[in-house]
Every structure is written in structure tokens, then in C-alpha cells.
């Protein structure tokens, strides 16, 4: 590529090798000026107290060369990609492949999820990680009702997780109630707190709502820390009973499941049981959400996210719509909390910090507000990815930061920003799927 063969440029954006070279030269010049003192000359106090200096022109040249080359590469990439806000036409075969993948991804993931304990039966670490991922999938799906569907930015979701966890822990340790009795109670209590939070924030939207929900999350945590007589304060609650399979404990005792089935006891049985338990709970969350989306209340949530004024103009009861969204989301958070308590056997306020809320919110936003599959994928990436980068402890936040920035540039609506409509007219269905793809973007 020579400097004279500059191609005719786009309407507004200059291209061609002359432009690229010029830009690279300017970047290199700036780098030379900046780095000549920072890198090129090194000074230090000498043994006699005087200042000695030496030059590092080799390093300087390498850096300037890197900037020059990097600038060319970035510019070429940018021209190949085109302007960021431009619609990119995806080639037909790629489109077909993507739609095929889109159709089979969710069933494939589901089948894989069911097979995880079979495939990784002997790998305790992977089983534990899968349980963790599924817990966050469930939390993500729960928060998705509030944030993704109803559009109510909730930064204190961890409060409901905590309410669920402490409900089970306290009911089980104080009254000896079983997990299966406490699970619905935890959900109901969390939903009750959801409504309680909902009332004062009915009139708030956006930033203000976020601040109040954030404060709510912190209040719950502080109450747990300070109400020592009930919650044990910072020491937490320990000795929380493990879940039973309808009254049959999964332990080494004579009444245990292994003994009843006549097989050898293995601690993995309990882990597998927990895995399927959280899988079932997450799928229940997903199923309920999908069903609700097709009912008037679910449509009202989505309409509320789109335009609250229009909702009022249509005579939708905005108060009940918001409160049911908070209550439903909180209930799933409470279920997940009860599961967390029974899985850990020990809970303390440290598990319910703002960071948890932020993580779950990040999962929902990255997944694509309102998309069930997107949330599941985001939970897998965020929680699984965090583990994957555990080796690079120092860099993993950096990697995640960069990944998030890139994602927000290329897919500002999240991994799966596409929203499937819920109302169909039978005779128009053939047209509908075509047009829906056209609007994909």
C-alpha cells in the first residue's frame, strides 16, 4: 500500500493509506514528545547525592514504534468496521447460522444443565460452581421482573435475598421447621418486604428510585447486623439444617437416603440434590415469568417500562402494577435466599452487601433487559468467567471492565437485546416473524 494510491474516501470520513499514515505519524509524534522525558531519560540520585541520568533510547523507539503500528491497526479496524452507529448488514449465511443457533441455544443449554451432575459427577468444584451460577441465574431472573420487565431500577435487590435467607435460617433454627415449609414462607416474607419497599417509591423513577432502593438494601443489612438478639449480628446464624428429600435426610445416618436405597453414602449425593433443587427453582422462576408476560399484568409491566404516562392514559392501575412487580421479583429473591441459607448452612450479613445487588443488576443489564436467555448467559459469563480468570487475579477486573465496555459499544441493549412479542394474531404469524427479524438491531 503506497501513499499515492489513496482511494476515494467516504462521504464524511476520510480513509485511504495517506490518511492512515498521517494519523499514525501524528500519534507517533505525540508519543515521542510524551515518552522522551518519561521513558527516554531516566534520572536518579547518585551515590554522592548528585543527580545522575542515563538514556534509554532503545525503549523509547520501541514504544513510539508500537504507537505508530497500533494506530495503523486501530484505524484499519475502524474502517473495516465502519461507524459505530451504522447498521451492519450481516451476510445471509451468517444470519441463517445465527438464527439456527438462536433457536437451539436455549434447549441445548437446558439439556446440558440437566446433564451437568452426570458429566461432572466426580468434579466437586464444577458442581459447586454450577450451583453458584444457577443461584445467580435465579436471582437474575427474579430481578429481571423488576428491572427488565417493569423498568424499575432496583439497586437493593439483595435485601430480599437476605430476607429469604434469614427467614429460613431463623425459622429452621428456632422452630425446627423443615426447608419445604420454610421455602414458601421465605418467598411470602420477601414479597411482603417488596410491597413495603414499593409503597414509598411509587412516585419515584430512574435515579431517585435507584437511590431509595439502594438505601433500602443497606437498611436491611444494618438491621441484621445490629439486631443481635434475633439475628446474631455480625456472627450470623450457623447450624442451619440441610434440605431433606421430603423428610429423608441426605446424610450418613441409618435413615438417610443412601441407607434407604441400599447404596453407599457419598457426600456428592447432597451436592447433586442441591444442584437439581436450584435448577428446578430457577426453571420455576423462568416459567412463571414467561407465563406472566403473556397475561395482562405482564404486559402492563412492560408497558410501564416503556411509558408510564401512556399507561395512566390507558387506565392501567399503575400502583398495583408496580407493587406486583416488586412483590414478584422479591419473592423469587426470597426463594433464592432460602436456598442459599440451606446450601451454606451458615449465613452472615457479609453475604448481603451492595456488591451482590450490583452483580445481579449487571447480569440483568448485560443479558439484555427482559431477555430470559440473555440473563442466563450473562450469569454464566459473569460468575463462570470470574472463576475462569481466578488465576489472573490482578487482571480479572481489568478484563471484565474491558469486556463490559466493548459489550456496551457493540450491543448496547445487552447480549440478547431482542424482545419477543407476546401478542400474536394467528393469520399474520407468517409475516410477523419476518418483520420481527427486520427490526432486530
Amino acid at each position: 500500500m503506497s501513499a499515492t494510491s489513496a482511494r476515494p474516501s467516504h462521504a464524511a470520513q476520510p480513509s485511504g493509506s495517506a490518511f492512515i499514515l498521517k494519523k499514525a505519524l501524528i500519534s507517533a509524534a505525540v508519543a515521542l514528545v510524551l515518552f522522551s522525558l518519561m521513558i527516554g531519560i531516566r534520572t536518579e540520585a547518585g551515590p554522592q547525592g548528585g543527580l545522575i541520568y542515563w538514556t534509554r533510547f532503545g525503549d523509547l523507539a520501541a514504544l513510539v514504534g508500537t504507537v505508530f503500528g497500533g494506530s495503523i491497526i486501530i484505524e484499519l479496524l475502524r474502517q473495516w468496521w465502519g461507524p459505530v452507529d451504522k447498521e451492519h448488514i450481516v451476510p445471509k449465511p451468517v444470519q441463517a447460522a445465527m438464527s439456527f443457533a438462536g433457536r437451539w441455544l436455549a434447549p441445548a443449554l437446558l439439556v446440558f444443565a440437566f446433564l451437568v451432575p452426570v458429566i461432572f459427577y466426580n468434579q466437586r468444584y464444577i458442581l459447586d460452581l454450577s450451583i453458584l451460577v444457577l443461584t445467580y441465574v435465579m436471582l437474575g431472573w427474579g430481578l429481571n421482573v423488576v428491572v427488565g420487565l417493569a423498568g424499575l431500577l432496583d439497586l437493593g435487590y439483595v435485601a430480599f435475598y437476605a430476607v429469604g435467607a434469614y427467614s429460613y435460617a431463623l425459622l429452621a433454627t428456632n422452630f425446627g421447621l423443615s426447608f419445604w415449609v420454610c421455602l414458601p414462607l421465605a418467598g411470602i416474607l420477601a414479597a411482603f418486604w417488596g410491597v413495603l419497599l414499593g409503597f414509598p417509591v411509587l412516585r419515584l423513577r430512574g435515579d431517585y428510585l435507584a437511590i431509595v432502593t439502594l438505601a433500602f438494601g443497606e437498611i436491611i443489612r444494618l438491621v441484621i447486623i445490629n439486631w443481635q438478639s434475633l439475628t446474631g449480628g455480625p456472627n450470623g446464624v450457623s447450624g442451619i439444617p440441610r434440605p431433606t428429600l421430603f423428610g429423608i435426610p441426605l446424610d450418613n445416618s441409618d435413615d438417610g437416603l443412601a441407607a434407604k436405597l441400599g447404596i453407599d453414602f457419598s457426600p456428592t449425593h447432597r451436592i447433586v440434590f442441591l444442584f437439581y433443587l436450584i435448577l428446578a427453582m430457577a426453571l420455576l422462576t423462568n416459567w412463571v415469568t414467561i407465563r406472566l408476560r403473556r397475561l395482562p399484568i405482564g404486559r402492563a409491566w412492560e408497558a410501564l417500562r416503556e411509558d408510564e404516562v401512556a399507561c395512566r392514559a390507558l387506565g392501567i392501575n399503575v400502583t398495583t402494577t408496580k407493587l406486583t412487580a416488586f412483590a414478584t421479583g422479591a419473592m423469587f429473591g426470597g426463594f433464592a435466599g432460602a436456598f442459599f441459607a440451606t446450601r451454606q448452612g451458615f449465613i452472615s450479613p457479609e453475604s448481603f452487601t451492595f456488591q451482590e445487588s450490583a452483580l445481579v443488576l449487571a447480569i440483568v443489564v448485560l443479558g439484555g433487559m427482559g431477555s430470559q436467555l440473555g440473563v442466563a448467559l450473562a450469569a454464566l459469563t459473569m460468575i463462570g468467567g470470574f472463576e475462569l480468570f481466578r488465576g489472573f487475579d490482578q487482571y480479572r477486573m481489568l478484563v471484565f471492565g474491558i469486556a463490559m465496555v466493548l459489550l456496551m459499544i457493540w450491543r448496547p441493549r445487552g447480549l440478547i437485546g431482542h424482545r419477543a412479542p407476546t401478542v400474536f394474531l394467528e393469520r399474520n404469524q407468517a409475516i410477523s416473524s419476518d418483520l420481527v427479524k427486520e427490526g432486530h438491531g
Partner: protein, 249 residues
């Protein structure tokens, strides 16, 4: 329907006052809308036209005066209950749901009042007969429609609740003259064919008064003039204030 119900107006607003905080937007408004009538409410920006429409719909609430609908006092009734009495509103600026499909937008209108599957189907047929364009766009996202189509959708959405009183806030706002004419024609059709009672709030006084049976002129939160559409169009003060000055081309 009894004989008295037929003679009383469908909607009677008497001495209604409403305010946003300390700013009084309506200072004692009286209007009446009879069954099967198109009534136009015209006035300059900030006269309180939209506020009156929204006050009839229950938000903001009237601070004084009464609103009677079909012989029943609806002053202070909440908006979702008013919607059940089959008053529908198409708010200013269209306000369709941009990420929801046209079909979903229409369904939202039907959701406000409990209606049977047959009624929903009939409602859709009625909307599609009025705006065939919407049928073509049924699976498209609301936000991808043109301004005129969005206005059609907003009116169609309001119609899905099978209203007896339809209130339209500036249906011609921001539309090309030809499209605005289509919208006004559709309103006239609705009124002639189904006998639908319509309250239309407009800045486009010429169009609105030609369409309406009667009109009210609002200035600073008060009704200053009223009469049939033709009468108002002839008034020199109306011509000066709303027609010659505000006419484009």
C-alpha cells in the same frame, strides 16, 4: 337507557378547578358534551386544554366543581376506574409503546377493560377497517412506525377499550397536512358510523372546528367562547387569534 339519560349530556363539567402545585391551570371551567357529538376544544399553548382533558380522566384531580359522566358523578374517581366506565384517552404526543409490537400496543388498550375474546376481535376489525395501514404493520415495533402511523396506533389503542367517550389530545400534532386530514377523516367516520362521542383538543383550530359540531375556546384556564363549529370559524377574534396567524402556507 332511560329517557332522562338520553336528554342529559354524556359529560358535564361544572365549575372545575385544577392546579399543579400553586399554579392554577383551570379556573372554573364549564363544558358539556352531548351523546354522538364531536366537541372541539381550542386555545393557545398553556391555556389548559390538555389539563382539562386529563382532569376529566381523573389526574390531576379537580380541586373544585363536579364532573358528571352519564348521570354519575366521577369527580375524584381514580383513572383506572374511569377507564372502566369506557372513557378513553389518546394522550398528547401519541405516547405509543415503542418497543412493543403494534398488536401488543392494541392489546394494551383492550387490557384496561375486561373484554371477551369476541369483543377483542371485533375491536381489532374496527381498528383495521379504520386504519388499514396498521394491519400491514401489525408485527412491527411501535417505535419504527412513522408519525402518522403512530397517531393512528394511539387512536386505535384508545378504541380497543370500546369507549363511549373518546378524548383526543392534539391528534394532528407534528403531522403532514395530508396525514392530519386522514386522521380527521377517520374521526369523522367513527362519529358518523358508530355514533361515537368525541372530545378533541387541538391547536389546529381550522381543521378541528370544521370537523366538530360544537367548539369551546379556552384562554388562561377559562372558557371564553362557545358555539357551533361554523359559528366559531366566522368569529373575527377566532380568525385573528387562531387561524390567520397560525396558518402554514
Amino acid at each position: 337507557m332511560s329517557a332522562t339519560a338520553a336528554t342529559t349530556p354524556l359529560l358535564a363539567v361544572r365549575g372545575v378547578r385544577a392546579a399543579y402545585g400553586k399554579i392554577e391551570a383551570l379556573k372554573g371551567v364549564d363544558i358539556e358534551i352531548n351523546r354522538g357529538e364531536i366537541v372541539a376544544l381550542i386555545g393557545a399553548n398553556g391555556a389548559g386544554k390538555s389539563t382539562l382533558m386529563m382532569t376529566i380522566f381523573g389526574r390531576p384531580r379537580a380541586r373544585a366543581g363536579t364532573i358528571e359522566y352519564d348521570g354519575r358523578d366521577i369527580t375524584g374517581v381514580s383513572t383506572h376506574e374511569i377507564a372502566r366506565l369506557r372513557i378513553a384517552q389518546s394522550p398528547e404526543g401519541r405516547r405509543i409503546f415503542p418497543r412493543m409490537s403494534v398488536a401488543e400496543n392494541l392489546q394494551m388498550g383492550a387490557d384496561a377493560t375486561e373484554c371477551s375474546e369476541a369483543e377483542r376481535e371485533a375491536g381489532l376489525e374496527r381498528v383495521f377497517a379504520l386504519f388499514p395501514r396498521l394491519k400491514e404493520r401489525i408485527a412491527q415495533r411501535g417505535g419504527t412506525l412513522s408519525g402518522g402511523e403512530q397517531q393512528m396506533l394511539a387512536i386505535g389503542r384508545a378504541l380497543m377499550s370500546r369507549p363511549r367517550l373518546l378524548m383526543l389530545d392534539e391528534p394532528s400534532l407534528g403531522l403532514a397536512p395530508l396525514i392530519a386530514r386522514q386522521i380527521f377523516d377517520a374521526i369523522r367516520t367513527l362519529n358518523r358510523q358508530d355514533g361515537l362521542t368525541v372530545l378533541i383538543v387541538e391547536q389546529n383550530a381550522n381543521h378541528a372546528l370544521k370537523l366538530a359540531h360544537r367548539g369551546y375556546v379556552m384562554v388562561n384556564g377559562l372558557i371564553t367562547l362557545s358555539g357551533t363549529g361554523g359559528e366559531l370559524l366566522q368569529r373575527p377574534e377566532i380568525r385573528a387569534a387562531y387561524l390567520e396567524g397560525g396558518r402554514h402556507g
